[in-house]
């Protein structure tokens, strides 16, 4: 029997989710941070979506959020003109880095010693996290607000995107190496270290470029305006989401659309594969994050595949008789939203 995707909805945010990031794989698993216009970024367990904690302190919408590789630190970029660095284990605020305008993007180096920020003041800033009092190094050149800034090439270079350009900078000399121009607004950028691939979305296009030379590799067109896309770690698939509320999964090699999912109630702003590639997370205008299986029906995280022979019946269907609801109605409820029929854990207050 064919299996239907059951997305896992992570609730808790009260405004649109505009950015999300996974950590690397740590001995404790991997983690997920979400940036939200409600100003309260949240840390979650990456494979289950379970809430771990909320970073409290920003006084405005949080536009960007990231975790360092071992998920010991988090960084956030907000509309209150600050970027903040947090202890991701205790939730405490470690540093507040004042800027002159809305901060949109933050990124740690691999060794977590430096933080890159960018925002509406059109400057890239590099903070030495071991010397928080020192002034950051600044790189100017962008002519419109910076939407995304990322370390690349083992932190020797920086990639940054503003409205219509993507630029490559050399870290040591702080000078521009190359740039790409677009005639449509760049909506997102993702950097894949293995293979040095850059994923850029603009309009309905999902484009792949070399992160070293910025030369184009390939691009696909989606049925609707795409706001974010992510390439699977093994580079077999990519996922993308945008203004039509749907998530699309494509074969990276052939460009064939493999799957598409409805489920969100608003445009999708961000989508990322987990570091092990087993799931992808999407953040939406509807205030939720959803986790989706890469291979539908595989047992992983909270998804438990029950094969017909070993079916104890308990997990697939509730054992209690629901007098008012028939099996069909339960299936309906369990379809795209699939939230309603499964009881939640006892520590949820009633």
């Amino acid at each position: 029997m064919a299996m239907r995707q059951t997305p896992l909805t992570c609730s808790g945010h009260t405004r649109p989710v505009v950015d999300l990031a996974f950590s690397g794989i740590t001995p404790y698993g991997y983690f997920l941070i979400s940036a939200c216009k409600d100003g309260k970024p949240m840390l979650r367990q990456g494979d289950t979506g379970d809430w771990i904690g909320t970073f409290l302190g920003h006084k405005g919408a949080v536009w960007g959020a990231t975790l360092n590789k071992d998920a010991t630190k988090a960084a956030t970029a907000a509309a209150d003109f600050t970027a903040k660095v947090w202890d991701a284990v205790s939730g405490d605020e470690l540093m507040t880095l004042a800027h002159k305008h809305i901060v949109k993007t933050v990124d740690f180096t691999q060794d977590s010693n430096y933080l890159l920020t960018g925002g509406q003041d059109k400057l890239l800033r590099i903070y030495d996290l071991n010397k928080p009092e020192a002034e950051p190094k600044e790189i100017s050149g962008h002519t419109s607000g910076i939407k995304k800034a990322l370390w690349c090439s083992e932190d020797k270079q920086i990639l940054s995107a503003d409205d219509k350009t993507v630029r490559l900078w050399d870290h040591a000399t702080m000078t521009e190496v190359k740039s790409l121009n677009f005639n449509m607004s760049v909506s997102s950028m993702e950097y894949i270290p293995e293979g040095e691939i850059l994923v850029i979305t603009y309009g309905r296009s999902i484009a792949f470029h070399s992160a070293v030379s910025l030369d184009p590799i390939k691009s696909f067109e989606a049925p609707a305006t795409i706001n974010s896309a992510s390439l699977h770690p093994e580079k077999e698939f990519l996922v993308a989401g945008g203004e039509d509320f749907k998530l699309y999964k494509y074969d990276y090699n052939s460009g064939e659309e493999l799957e598409s999912y409805k489920g969100h109630f608003g445009p999708i702003h961000c989508v990322r594969f987990s570091p092990d590639g087993e799931l992808y997370a999407s953040g939406s205008e509807d205030g939720t994050l959803r986790l989706w299986q890469t291979v539908v029906g595989k047992t992983y995280g909270l998804w438990k595949c029950v094969l017909p022979e070993e079916d104890s019946g308990e997990l697939a269907k509730p054992k209690i008789g629901f007098p008012e609801t028939t099996e069909e109605e339960l299936e309906e409820i369990a379809s795209e939203n699939s939230d309603c029929i499964y009881s939640s854990t006892p520590d949820v207050k009633a």
């Binding site: 239907r4 404790y28 771990i52 904690g53 909320t54 438990k304 009633a350």
Partner: protein, 131 residues
């Protein structure tokens, strides 16, 4: 429609949401026990499994009852007892997924009637209504 018959992938439970009263980061939480190498889903002894499944069924039944009570409340006049002996009444509209906020209308407060409001559930001590 020619969609093939499909069943949704079963899930153990939904992701846990915020607890509504703290910022989280429990000290003995995620960092304390290292993940075991082998997933331990299959190995439960039978007795423990049936006790757990009984508990789970009880939780499910209680949860269903509570959700139906919320449905029954929609559109009705509800009296809320809040902290510091504050009492308000309102027409109940809806709750959000985590039951963290109640959406109400015509909220009667000591300082006037609010046409639409969100009541934070962590502020509510109890509420009562007549179906």
């Amino acid at each position: 429609m020619q969609t093939p018959v499909t069943i949704p992938v079963p899930v153990l439970r939904l992701p846990r949401g915020p607890d509504g009263f703290s910022r989280g980061f429990a000290p003995d939480g995620r960092r304390a026990p290292l993940k075991p190498e082998v997933p331990q889903i299959q190995e439960c002894p039978i007795a423990q499994e049936s006790l757990e499944s009984q508990e789970q069924q009880a939780r499910a039944a209680l949860r269903e009852r509570y959700l139906r009570s919320l449905l029954a409340m929609v559109g009705r006049q509800v009296s809320f007892t809040l902290h510091e002996s504050v009492h308000v009444a309102a027409h109940f509209g809806a709750t959000d997924l985590d039951v963290a906020n109640f959406y109400v209308s015509q909220l009667q407060t000591p300082i006037g009637v609010q046409a639409e409001a969100l009541l934070r559930c962590s502020d509510i001590i109890s509420y009562t209504f007549k179906p």
